[in-house]
Symmetry: C2
DNA sequence: TTTTTGGGTACTGGATCCAAAAACCGAAGT
DNA sequence: ACTTCGGTTTTTGGATCCAGTACCCAAAAA
């Protein structure tokens, strides 16, 4: 039908786009921690009214990217060692579970897609394209999350994954050589998933994240 | 001044109140799964405009209590064995982590408070007060979550905890004797926490939740 | 009788609008 | 010079308005 071919012109709802835009601005440090975000300004900047902006801000608040002072507006969430610890403590078991489930499901056509991602990852790593590396990395983890076939788990991970990304971008952009371990680890995870090795996938994933945690932590403390 | 004495009647923000109200209506089955929730009706029912209602609905959607069909509004999320499985699969490691952290922190004055909760739990159980039992149970788990001193973890658990509550209320109200295991398990958890036994607390918690999962699952399948 | 089409209705999503709280600023008084 | 008070401005939070879309039903066409 004609409708079917036209229907996806309306790609995404407006608040989604705003969330996307603000989110990456926060992750990539264009909006530094603590910046006061004013509804009216965002609305003007993106040529929309305050309604969709308000919704977008609420969502970002819920994801922990923004914090709200009642009746005083929102500001970009501060980053801190404490916050980092909280996030990673939660990420470890959840990412582990996702990897294990992905291995358990063993959807045959995710392996090639994971490999494609892996290549992107390596390419960006070698060419020193930090931002590109992060895009590829998000795509990779998203694939794993989807392969786990648990939308509840996926949405939990999406939220804290983004928060983690802030710290990771901060860490990797100050010490670019950190990505090495990440690339290796990702390859190991793919191996475990294609072997249907649930506990293996879980263990490898948890180790990788734990290591990432420690490394970032050291960098922040310094 | 008179104004000052009146001003704090407005204890919480309006959307919060709406979330609270709708949430419990959903958990306790007053709004059955699939019910179409119309913004205008809710607004009229609670004597507010659509703005705060919209925000409340967005939040409930985000927590998985409501689902949205683009441009067609929201309805109460359907319940299903699949959904139950997703929730519990996530709850197990997270609740386990929370219990372990609570044991690690060992804030001395949470133990008596947990015991108070435990008594409430037992009393409601004995008098067959299902709804009261649930209130006490939420208070209990909230205490554990707070004792873990990880607000990120707490907020993750708050979200899926509520979704789980729907299933638990459904299960317990059809087979009231199920609560027995829950009361015992809760006591064990308190013991582990006061012994500062992290792995023990984790194990016991995970077991308890896993058991609850299986039981509810059987009931749903039937 | 079944399918299509047109109009009417209902509801969401976005844009204003308005009130009230908080931040800002400047003048007066200590 | 420093604080305090009062008015002004900014900005949030809630109410209302308007446009666009999906749904329903009835009438016309096949």
């Amino acid at each position: 039908m004609l409708r079917d071919s036209l229907i996806d012109i309306q790609v995404r709802a407006m608040p989604d786009q705003l969330v996307q835009a603000l989110e990456s601005a926060i992750v990539f440090g264009e909006l530094p921690a603590g910046t006061h975000v004013v509804e009216e300004e965002v609305a003007e900047r993106y040529r929309v009214s305050r309604s969709p902006v308000r919704e977008a801000l609420r969502r970002l608040e819920r994801d922990g990217m923004l914090v709200r002072d009642e009746r005083r507006g929102v500001r970009v969430a501060p980053i801190s060692a404490r916050d980092l610890d909280e996030i990673y403590m939660c990420r470890i078991p959840l990412e582990g579970l996702a990897a294990a489930q992905a291995a358990a499901m063993h959807n045959p056509d995710v392996i090639p897609r994971l490999n494609v991602c892996l290549n992107d990852l390596e390419r960006c790593f070698k060419s020193g394209d930090i931002k590109g590396y992060f895009i590829a990395n998000v795509a990779f983890t998203d694939l794993v999350h989807n392969a786990a076939a648990n939308s509840t788990l996926a949405s939990l991970l999406e939220g804290i994954g983004k928060r983690a990304l802030r710290y990771r971008y901060f860490a990797y952009s100050t010490a670019p050589d950190l990505v090495t371990a990440s690339v290796e680890g990702s390859r190991e995870i793919v191996d475990m998933i294609s072997d249907r090795n649930q506990t293996g996938a879980k263990k490898v994933t948890e180790k990788l994240i734990e290591r990432s945690w420690k490394t970032i932590r050291n960098l922040i403390d310094a």
